[in-house]
């Protein structure tokens, strides 16, 4: 049943808002020609994207070494780690079944893993398989099966019943500019940040944020972020917005994931052989 039909009583309100927006937009200050700068910035973005892909190719070579370092993810425990002598064949990196990636069609302005050169794409897909298996083991069972999302190496998705929980696992180089941002609560935005000890003097931010879904219900998402060498690591789990269900994990549970050696091995590899573009300041909005 349609709970919010756009009924006649709204018409006058809509008309007022349309007229007010037209008046405001027409009254916007003059705009200089943005095209020359857009061309220059666009060319620079293209060049950076190509450079990132080129850099990633180096990591393909490292994949064999990475594979040798990894335990059998599907059944992994520190005890069950396979011997690390000799580089395994790519197929042997997966102890468990291959997880079919979730396909999301890239939308305007978005690139996808399908845009990558074949070798780099293969490397990132392999990494996603490893990461999905580790996340599947370490996240609470309520996440259901964790699968890679084919839009970006940092995107994953847990699904349990009718609920879908987006997960982000990102290791993003900062070009030596990695800095821990301030950690402050923002009560107005229902945003809580706690600075906690991750391990060995490393600190992390454990963040809980609440959004409003349809029907006015609150949907809670959590994330943990920390600086690892020259990269920023983010592990976040969001709720199912359309079903108004919060992420079935607490910040403490997410921290336990981040402290797990299996997770940290993935972080070390991704830091040493970056797969994401360098973090930069974005303007606009």
């Amino acid at each position: 049943m349609d709970m919010f039909p756009e009924s006649a009583p709204q018409e006058s309100e809509e008309r007022l808002v349309r007229e007010a927006m037209a008046e405001a937009a027409e009254g916007a200050p003059p705009l200089p020609d943005l095209v020359p700068v857009a061309l220059a910035v666009g060319r620079a973005r293209r060049a950076r994207a190509r450079a990132a892909i080129g850099g990633g190719m180096v990591g393909v070579v490292a994949l064999g070494v990475f594979g040798a370092m990894l335990p059998s993810w599907g059944t992994a425990s520190p005890v069950s780690a396979r011997p690390t002598t000799g580089a395994p064949a790519p197929t042997s990196l997966h102890a468990g079944p291959r997880r079919a990636p979730v396909h999301i069609q890239p939308t305007p302005g978005e690139s996808s893993m399908a845009d990558l050169p074949a070798a780099e794409r293969k490397r990132q897909e392999e990494f996603q398989q490893q990461a999905a298996a580790v996340l599947n083991e370490l996240l609470p069972a309520a996440f259901g099966t964790v699968r890679p999302v084919d839009l970006a190496v940092s995107r994953y998705q847990g699904s349990s019943g009718d609920h879908v929980f987006p997960v982000v696992f990102s290791v993003r180089p900062t070009g030596g500019l990695a800095q821990e941002p301030p950690c402050q609560d923002v009560p107005a935005a229902k945003y809580q940040c706690e600075r906690v000890n991750l391990m060995d003097g490393m600190t992390a931010h454990a963040i809980t944020s609440t959004g409003i879904s349809k029907g006015g219900k609150e949907v809670v998402g959590v994330s943990v972020s920390f600086v690892f060498k020259d990269s920023t690591v983010v592990l976040s789990a969001d709720g199912d917005d359309s079903a108004a269900v919060s992420a079935p994990v607490t910040a403490d549970q997410l921290l336990r994931v981040a402290r797990d050696e299996r997770f940290l091995r993935l972080v070390r590899y991704a830091e040493a052989s970056p797969m994401e573009p360098r973090q930069e300041s974005a303007h606009g909005g």
Binding site: E23, R46, V186, A189, I212, D241
Partner: protein, 169 residues
């Protein structure tokens, strides 16, 4: 630069020059101030050029550009929140000058969450139907309707009696 690259740039320039003002107006309603709107429009055009091989072949490059603009706006708002810059930007700066209705509208829009603000702008400024807005923002049509309904109620409270402005238009 190759001949193809040159044609690519020329086609992009033609499109961008024809459409930048429209994008800027939408950005102005989303951001609430001219400086942020210019930055957002600039970023959108740069992204468009980066992916022009795809955007230029779209059935409707203008719709493509609008989608890039909206998603860039929302991504930037999320990034700001995550970077804890949000506390100084949750309340957008009030417009410094302008007709009363514009000031009131932009102030009221600033009180909406970014996603709800985007829905209202797309629905009532860009005049997109509910389905298109839902697709653009990757949510259900009922979410768009409910958010717009709530936002309209908020805006109506701020804007007051429509009759007060009736003589202006």
């Amino acid at each position: 630069m190759t001949a193809d690259g040159s044609r690519d740039s020329t086609r992009f320039e033609q499109f961008a020059r024809a459409y930048q003002r429209r994008l800027y107006r939408t950005a102005y309603l989303l951001c609430g101030d001219a400086e942020s709107a210019r930055d957002l429009t600039q970023t959108t055009l740069a992204k468009l050029f980066q992916y022009w091989h795809r955007a230029g072949k779209a059935d409707n490059p203008a719709a493509y550009a609008r989608t890039v603009l909206t998603r860039t706006y929302l991504a930037e708002r999320r990034r700001r929140l995550r970077d804890f810059l949000a506390h100084s930007h949750v309340d957008a700066p009030p417009p410094s000058v302008g007709p009363e209705l514009t000031v009131t509208l932009l102030t009221a829009l600033a009180e909406l969450p970014p996603r709800a603000r985007a829905m209202v702008v797309l629905r009532y400024w860009e005049d997109l139907d509910v389905r298109t807005v839902a697709e653009l923002l990757r949510c259900s049509e009922s979410t768009v309707k409910s958010q717009c309904s709530r936002s309209l109620a908020t805006l109506r409270t701020r804007l007051g009696d429509p009759c007060l402005y009736a003589t202006r238009t």
